[in-house]
Symmetry: C3
Subunit: 431 residues, 3 copies
């Protein structure tokens, strides 16, 4: 692995800035988020897709904003208030101002008996509804009285915001990196993805890249559908690898969601990395466990070569989709590690060239002073064996990944051999 770029603390700071913003799939919280990121990566272009626009099978929903929402008791005390936590309000709740008995109110309350201190995260994007999400302990304290419910929200014909930008490389072939901007106030799923994409972009902007890199930030599901609706043919034609950034915040696991076929370039390179550096990683089953944007990007007829390299995967950790998925789950170290993993996988991809030999039969290494020994002697240094074994596999067809797998070495371990052989005009890059 290359030396780490120590971004962990900056990532953690950005996390703290982004976490408190109230993000949904549309609205000003999302816009604020995107502009905050654009302050760091000025290359991002922010787009607005209008409500009502048809994208494949979907009609883009209204834009939703909320200015206030609370429940107060008979005495005017606010017992639940989104100023405490935006998760208290079900996403896309319609406006309401009403007095309700406890039993009437109960129909609109959501809590988790098994996690009495957690506020659940719920939304109702496509059906008019309203609700409050509270801890079960809070709920138990509610008394039989008349409550005032106030939701000052607005669903209007507006737009859904998303952002993208491209770093051109030597090749027009693209690597697609995406995450989502919709989950409010939760750290692992999904503010971590916003943080990671920002710093991957920063790193790639400085790197001299072979591939072109395309970044996209938008709401989960509908954002992917908007983006595919606009760019499907281009993405299908040009994408050589794709990373969906999700659940990259905590430090309790490393896990892989493969692509639909499980056999794309991205699958191969990520598995190669994980084999050498993350012995205990978990590989999930696409059919059984998919749940993030691979549901769109890997669906039949799209089939981008996309994987997610996650830490604790959505649906598998206790704090998932609750107020407990907060800053306490992440650290500068955990964010750094997620960054390092993705950096190394991108390095593998960039290094994964196809070489061919320029020389038929073994090259005369002694003449080139690459290696000298007395003929007939039996000792050959390991590095020399590796170089000769590499040459024995180098045929203008096999890429470095498959040669590494065949030789049982990490792809980076071939660097020295390749560099010497290239300098000596024994092999040539044919990618």
């Amino acid at each position: 692995m290359k030396n780490k770029i120590p971004y962990g603390h900056q990532m953690y700071d950005l996390m703290k800035k982004l976490l408190p913003i109230n993000r949904s799939i549309s609205g000003d919280g999302v816009r604020k988020t995107l502009y905050l990121i654009k302050e760091i990566i000025k290359e991002f272009n922010i787009h607005e897709a209008p409500s009502g626009k048809r994208c494949f099978d979907w009609e883009l929903p209204y834009e939703w904003n909320v200015s206030d929402a609370y429940i107060s008791d008979e005495h005017g005390n606010k017992v639940i208030d989104i100023k405490d936590n935006y998760l208290h309000l079900m996403g896309y709740s319609i406006p309401i101002k009403k007095k309700l008995s406890l039993s009437e109110l109960e129909l609109h309350l959501h809590s988790l008996p098994d996690q009495p201190d957690a506020i659940p995260y719920l939304t109702s994007y496509y059906k008019d509804n309203w609700g409050f999400c509270i801890t079960h302990n809070q709920r138990k304290k509610l008394k039989n009285q008349l409550y005032s419910v106030v939701i000052e929200s607005e669903k209007k014909i507006g737009s859904i915001s998303y952002a993208d930008f491209i770093i051109p490389g030597k090749s027009k072939k693209e690597v697609f990196i995406t995450t989502y901007s919709c989950h409010p106030m939760m750290a692992n799923n999904e503010t971590s993805g916003l943080v990671l994409i920002t710093f991957l972009a920063q790193w790639l902007l400085k790197r001299n890249n072979f591939y072109t890199y395309r970044f996209m930030l938008g709401p989960e599901t509908i954002g992917a559908i908007i983006y595919l609706d606009k760019h499907l043919e281009h993405l299908k034609r040009n994408t050589v690898a794709a990373f969906n950034l999700t659940c990259v915040g905590d430090d309790r696991a490393v896990s892989l969601m493969p692509s639909r076929s499980g056999q794309t370039m991205t699958d191969r390179l990520v598995r190669h990395y994980l084999k050498y550096f993350e012995e205990k990683y978990i590989e999930y089953d696409f059919l059984k466990h998919r749940g993030s944007n691979e549901r769109q990007y890997c669906s039949p007829g799209v089939d981008l070569p996309m994987v997610s390299i996650m830490r604790s995967k959505y649906l598998t950790y206790p704090e998932y989709h609750t107020s407990l998925d907060n800053i306490s789950l992440v650290s500068p170290q955990s964010l750094q590690k997620s960054f390092d993993i993705h950096v190394e996988c991108i390095e593998i991809l960039e290094a994964n060239r196809i070489y061919n030999r320029q020389i038929i039969c073994e090259p005369h290494l002694a003449r080139r002073k690459i290696f000298e020994r007395l003929g007939g002697g039996t000792h050959v240094p390991d590095q020399m064996i590796l170089m000769m074994n590499f040459l024995t596999c180098c045929d203008g067809k096999a890429d470095l990944l498959s040669i590494s797998e065949k030789l049982g070495v990490y792809i980076g371990d071939l660097n020295d051999s390749i560099s010497i052989l290239e300098k000596n005009n024994i092999i040539i890059d044919q990618t």
Copy 2:
């Protein structure tokens, strides 16, 4: 599985009608059998292939009929008489009228010392010969005296009878169903095949079929050769699946003889059925265990996609090719089950379509009221998961069988999903 059509008792009645007829590969017994079946399925066409006709490597044999055959002792008592059982006479025995000592007679007697109560079944179609088959207990009772042997048989230039008919379907692609009409007086092998083909035809005549169904009834081996000689190119071009009905009478086993490659559509669908409904089924090896008409229909250069779904396979049960293979081995229940198995396999075949999605990315199910839940919630009903998993595999290439195998469900379990998705114009049949 679909509801059963209760044909078992009618099948058993037909079995009792057909069993006593003296069938060989040619002659009036076969004709009588075919006309009896034609009384039920009037669509059958009965054909006659003339003796001496060349079919591939074979010359069709003489037609053989027998009016009487017995052995009587010195006192004129008939000790063996085909009126008791047609198996007593070796098939295609030449006519004879002669007095013989016991030792001379012994050269023409066949019995089974290990099954002293069984009359063996023997024939000599292509070489002039005569013989009597008796139980070993009968044989031991014969005394040293002069026996009169009478065989009133005739081998003449005549013809070999067979029958076929076609039920046209929406597709010109054909399913070929065949059995054989030559084994006299034996129940599992092979009167059971005659009974089953009759009722499968009856069922398919009433069904609204996608495929065209072709039925053929003729003697084993030479019948298949006659039929292939006439229809080879048509059968090779059009047959998508084929069933050889043999040994479908008893209730002691379910077993499969795969096709030569073992990988045809018929193999795949039958194995799918058996996996879900017959845990303990036996799969035989084509090379080691073939023995019925697959020897012709699956031979190189023919290679129809033919399997046999048998109960107790020929050569594997003690009563095989003896007088003990009689009505006592079969029952209305055992015949019903063989019928049901074949019906279900045909249902699988008819259902095994290739669908494609009409929608890129996930369809908006909530809008269609197919399925509603609060976004962010984690519970999804099983039927919904199955539908979404099916959609995730549905790509216009994979057929339902392979999708079922991938999803680990019985093909029939996809019916509801498919029906909903088709009605909602989310998928379309592309078969």
Copy 3:
């Protein structure tokens, strides 16, 4: 297996004649060797490739000859003398005549502390150097005195000798058989190869061959490179199988070095042979263990279908590349066995035809008197089952090797079936 041709003793005699000659990769020892072999196989053509000629990445080295080389002590006693063993002199040592102290001399002495009675074998073809190889016991006896070192050798612009010839067969497709002529005074590696190629040629000259056979004798590595430089396109286009003869002298093992892909015709046929006749054979890994001329003949862009069927493989036996690899390791029996193995593998190759059936469906064997039984009887002789199983696999595509593997029998066991079926015009050779 066919009957053995008893060449063992003649092979052993030739071994004894060739062993004492001082062979290097060039020079008069090689020439003498080639002319000695040409006395037996007059068809060999001896070629000279000039020093300095460019072959792929290599420039052919000077020709080297040595007339005398020794070390004498202060009293004029020769303590080391190549007249005792040519291995005493490092191959391609430059001429020298000098007095040296023991400590100066030590820099040019090579011995093996772990094998104190063995003279090591060393060369320095491409770098000017000189040295003496001695037993460690000899070395320990050297005293601190002034030694005279004399090497009367010559490196000159000359040529490298090699020999080849072709036995035309019915087909223009070629089998390539090669070994090397460079290792002096060593028996298993590599005088054994010279002996074996001579007698394989003698046998094939008398045989009526389907394939064309090409033989090549030259120095290891540079000889292969010279030959490929001249014949690459022809060899790539025409070679169906290739054998590299190396380490075929001793009797302690049978081992296989497969080709680079491990899946060529030669790999398949040799593994088939070994499975049936050498249960305990060792199969080496091309990547890990290659070391002989397969490094050239199987390199990417060349990829001849070449294997080595060895006895004790180079680098794996204690006497390897020392004076202990001498006549005591070989015997008429061990040489005979190496001959027999190669003969049988060539017989397999020649027998490995593709047959097709001339008859659709089963042939009427009874009519041809190939086989008779009473119809309905259950006993079939094994040979008959094998013939019918063969027919069931015979489709004009599968070669005999793959049919044998499928049927689980040795390819030679099909001879009788094939011969009967061919005579009866049931199958036809389509190779």
